[in-house]
């Protein structure tokens, strides 16, 4: 499996490592899916390089060129025993939508952080109660409320889902075209890689969907409008309030500092994150740029300073004494932009902020610490 980019173009190429048959190839340019494909010779060479290395017990992992173009060759274990390549190709088509949403410019960041994108509803406890009651009535423990790919509330069991699926399920729901209800077969890469489960979605309000993960029961028909009405009609106002939450992620009442242009809060223990660039939406830069800046900064910070996996506990113990552990970092961009980004790690939480140029550089850390303390109750 290979991935690479040219300028603004990203190609995702999936090959069967043993045979070199391309399973699929998706390209995206500037965030939108593109028709442009990699030439066959390139595909062949990539596979050749991988095979050649494998024979000599050398695994190529990445290559870089001047334009920070990155080639990533990840030797992924074979999906399953590929019996029929053509059939597999057809089956894979179903996931193109999801794959493209990764290649595009997502509003979410779960793909990068491996944390579930969340929003903070104004009346969370009410929703939580209703959700539990509904779950019981529907006969499944795995229920969540999702607004444009972000989880508003979820049952305890849903939160306990393993990592890839916890991020992927809301993401999938957000990436699918809008429908009143769906019954979607899904494999859970962590929890149930071989036996498919059913993902049921019910649209409560446009953009706001109820997701259920269940086995053969109950059938979709059993979740009749009456059941929905019983549980959700009384909560119509809080639900409406959730709709506007989508990109802002934080409740209206919560005031951020005026210099904050974007925010990413991660709770690494609970694997949830808050990502918003909607604060002070009218100033430069545009939201997409803010998102990209924060995404890039997150990549830099995780690769250089805060590795996502702290490693086994005994190692941490070792490193604890006398080690030099990074706690915060900031970056000031050059002339013409002047935006500043700051990252702070405190316990299980990480906070990344994008700040306007007028914010004093030496005060960045204080501002970040203050903001983190204010946000701590939420996540």
């Amino acid at each position: 499996m290979g991935e690479e980019g040219t300028g603004g173009t990203v190609h995702l190429l999936c090959l069967a490592a043993s045979s070199g048959v391309p399973l699929f190839c998706r390209s995206s340019r500037g965030g939108a899916p593109a028709r442009q494909q990699l030439p066959f010779s390139v595909i062949g060479s990539l596979n050749g390089v991988h095979m050649f290395g494998q024979n000599l017990e050398v695994q190529l992992s990445s290559a870089r060129t001047e334009d920070t173009t990155v080639v990533l060759l990840v030797g992924l274990e074979e999906l399953t025993n590929i019996r029929n390549v053509e059939r597999l190709k057809k089956e894979l088509r179903a996931s193109y939508c999801l794959i493209d949403s990764f290649l595009g410019e997502p509003e979410l960041i779960g793909d990068l952080t491996q944390c579930v994108d969340c929003v903070i509803p104004p009346e969370g406890s009410l929703l939580q109660e209703a959700l539990s009651g509904f779950a019981e009535a529907a006969g499944t423990a795995f229920v969540s409320l999702v607004v444009s790919g972000r989880v508003v509330a979820a049952t305890e069991s849903w939160w306990r889902l393993g990592l890839p699926e916890a991020v992927l399920l809301p993401w999938l729901v957000g990436s699918l075209p809008p429908q009143a209800a769906r019954d979607y077969p899904v494999y859970l890469p962590h929890g149930s890689p071989t036996v498919p489960h059913r993902l049921l979605t019910l649209t409560l309000l446009p953009g706001l969907e109820l997701c259920l993960l269940c086995g053969p029961h109950p059938p979709l028909s059993q979740l009749d409008p009456q059941l929905l009405e019983r549980w959700w009609q009384p909560l119509l106002d809080p639900l409406r309030a959730c709709l506007t939450l989508g990109p802002r992620a934080l409740p209206d009442g919560f005031a951020l500092h005026a210099d904050i242009l974007g925010l990413l809060l991660l709770n690494l223990e609970r694997k949830r994150c808050l990502f918003t660039v909607q604060a002070l939406g009218d100033k430069e830069p545009a939201p997409e740029q803010r998102r990209r800046l924060l995404r890039n900064f997150y990549s830099l910070v995780t690769t250089t300073y805060f590795p996502p996996e702290p490693g086994p506990p005994e190692k941490v113990e070792d490193a604890g004494h006398g080690a030099q552990l990074p706690r915060a970092c900031y970056l000031v961009l050059g002339p013409g932009m002047g935006w500043q980004v700051v990252a702070l790690q405190l316990g299980p939480r990480q906070l990344l902020l994008l700040l306007s140029p007028q914010s004093p550089t030496h005060g960045l850390r204080a501002l970040a610490t203050h903001t983190l303390h204010a946000l701590t109750p939420f996540l």
Partner: protein, 943 residues
Amino acid sequence: MASPALCDSPGSPDELSGDPSLQEDEDCNSDDRVSDSGSYTSASSDYDDLEPEWLDSVQKNGELFYLELSEDEEESRLPEIPPTVNHVRFSENEIIIEEDDYKERKKYEPKLKRFTKILKSKRLLPKRYNKKNSNDNGPVSILKHQSNQKTGVIVQQQYKDVTVYVNPKKLTVTKAKEQLKLLEVLVGIIHQTKWSWRRTGKQGNGERLVVHGLLPGGSAMKSGQILIGDVLVAVNDVDVTSENIERVLSCIPGPMQVKLTFENAYAVKKEKTQPRKKKANLNTNDLVKLLWEEEAEDNQQNIHNTPHIIMYLTLQLDSETSKEEQEILYHYPMSEASQKLKSVRGIFLTLCDMLENVTGTQVTSSSLFLNGKQIHVAYLKETEKLLLIGLPAEEVPLPQLRNMIKDIAQTLKFMYGSLDSAFCQVENVPRLDHFFNLFFQRALQPAKLHSSASPSVQQYDAASAVLLDNLPGVRWLPLPQEIKMELDTALSDLEAADFAELSEDYYDMRRLYTILGSSLFYRGYLICSHLPKDDLIEIALYCRYYGLLPLAAKQRIGQLIIWREVFPHHHLQPSSASNTEVFQEPEGRYFLLIVGLRHYMLCVLLEAGGCASKAVGNPGPDCIYVDQIRTTLHQLEGTDSRINERLASSPSPCLSCADWFLAGPREKTDGLATSPILSRLQGTTKATASPMCRRTLFGDYSLKTRKPSPSQSSGGPDNGCEGGEGTGLSPHPTPDAVLKQRESQGFDGSEESGALLKGTKKKSTLSNPFHLGNSKKDLSEKELEIYNTMKLTSGPENTLFHYVALETVQGIFITPTHEEVAQLGGSVHSQLIKNFHQCCLSIRALFQKALIEEKKKALNGTDDLDSTNSVSSLNPVKEHGVLFECSLENWTDQKKTPPVMAYWVVGRLFLHPKPQELYVCFHDSVTEIAIEMAFKLFFGLTL
């Protein structure tokens, strides 16, 4: 002064023909030269009839690398060397084997020419003989020869066995006319009866078989171990003389390995003639050993097992003559661990080709896993050739590797003109092997460099190498104005080349070389430079890769003379404008002459052609220039005590030790972020400092702080320096001094500082050695300190731990000296320094992107092209800071959490008015503004 061009015209067919029977020519030359030299030496004051000792070491191509340690270094070293006799031999054998590989692979026979005569007659001939007759590029064996010759002094090995391959079947082809030529034809040893000097007399019936020459391409030459002057005493343990040698050799039935036993001529001779001379002329091959000292063998073994490689591959393959590994033009090392990397070169070639096609830009690096170890490979493509360096990620982070490959390429181009001429000439192979041996040693085991140095220095060196080795600048030591002036004058006098033998009037002819500029190093620090930035950096790179700078820093060099032709990029690039008014570089040749004496090293760039006469052939170093430079260094001898003083106690920003801040918090009652009041004293040596060494660079600060006022002692942002008299802000003595004062002074200091911590601190019951003030210091001394110190950080305390400031216009950087760091000591501090440099490396990687962007902008003239793209990427970065936390290493108290100290590492890039980079490390207690710090650091920073 006589020009070498007088007697031999450059294109003289004799010189180039390679005909081995040019005795007449030689005689003529030698006669000429003798008389010539006579006139010369009598005129020279220093060298009346002394022949410079380095003359023997000049190689065929004119290059010279002559190193002689000073007497005391020598004595400490000598006893160690004899046990390594075997090693010397072993290592040479090993290299020989490698060379054979090359030859077999490439089916390349060195074009050996008249070297036998040169070697034979060099004792008789004057110095310029070397210059003149060294048109031929020295074959492999010449190098060997000299290394043996030199090590022979130490090793004193009398007999040696050399195994050579002989093939009598070749005789059928070259049916010898004379009978008595088996020795020559079979083995490749030339022995001429009439020439034998009969010094050793007869032995038995036959004459001793003295090797008078080696046949080009013969087995003897290939072995590289047989030296001219050696005496062949046995073949396969059968004693031989001139009497029976042909008979013995004719008994060899077919192709086989034959053991030849030689008596080592040099060992015997040198012992006899120079019994008391205790000089070890260290040849290039010994440099590795010298730098890494006795651990060399272990290290070699460790490194042997680490996968690392350098390869030079061609992308254009000749399909007709397809051979195994024909695309490899050069690779090193041959170790097994590296073999695997060599075998996957197909990957590198494919990636290079494919990625360039797809992305339009060249591949710069790739990462791969080999036996679970991540290895980064850096690429450098140039004119259908690909240079690859692969090193484990663990040892060398990717940003460093990228810088390394650039530096390597630059250095090789500086030395050989182009990568092609460096890698594609067979005679360069052993030189490159040596070069890369040094390179990999340094890259993989920086900590082992100089095991004799004190541990702190060693650690500091190793920790800082990751960043400093690849900065586009030279480590500079700012000196007081008076010393600077002295140095400047000395260098200017030299460069003017307008007196005595250097003046054109002296011999009434054109001078050989124009001195383009020179730069002076002291203990590895640049202290004065009159070279353009580009030349300076290239020369410094050369010195760095040959380990000369650390050598001068730690060892007293008795004598170092390096001479070689160089290709400074700055002078050789074709001028872009055809404008005639613009200065055009002459089509000259350039030579680098480095002369080292004690801790001094003076690098001089010479130009031949242009104003000076044209260089012919491969001239060796000219005595007059060497002499003159040495005189300049001798002139400066008096200065070194003052420079040493400056090194030990620098008036540059004073530093704090991280451990001082960690020791304090025990007493803290609350989580107060303020740290103990600490600042660094200049060190006790200050008392003896002469007023001369006051620095004027930071003059305005000094002036300000000269009259301490109450407002200053309370610490405004511009507080230039610590302290008014007798307050708690007193400068802090070095730990040693502190310990001495500890008993006598009790708790004075901690109380004082406690009072300053806004009274929040309880009176401490623990004595803290780092809190002592030194209020008892006498006042005048203190004033002196105040005058000399500069504080970079704001706030009442000195919170600066470390800094690196790079000034790219002049190509210099400053950073605390080894002595300063050693004075601070501290285990946490040394870790902090290591971390600082690693962090700076990643910060600098971001800055480098920004600089590339800036260059592109400058080229395009506009920056609106892909503004959307650039907005979203984190580029260009102007400032980057990281906050680290650390605690004491051995915290035994389980009940309490260990004290934690937080510090910032901040990098700042300045593009305007001139590119500068600043990296500082300071305590978290006071918010610092990088611009202010930078201003203080860079102020007055001029060469």
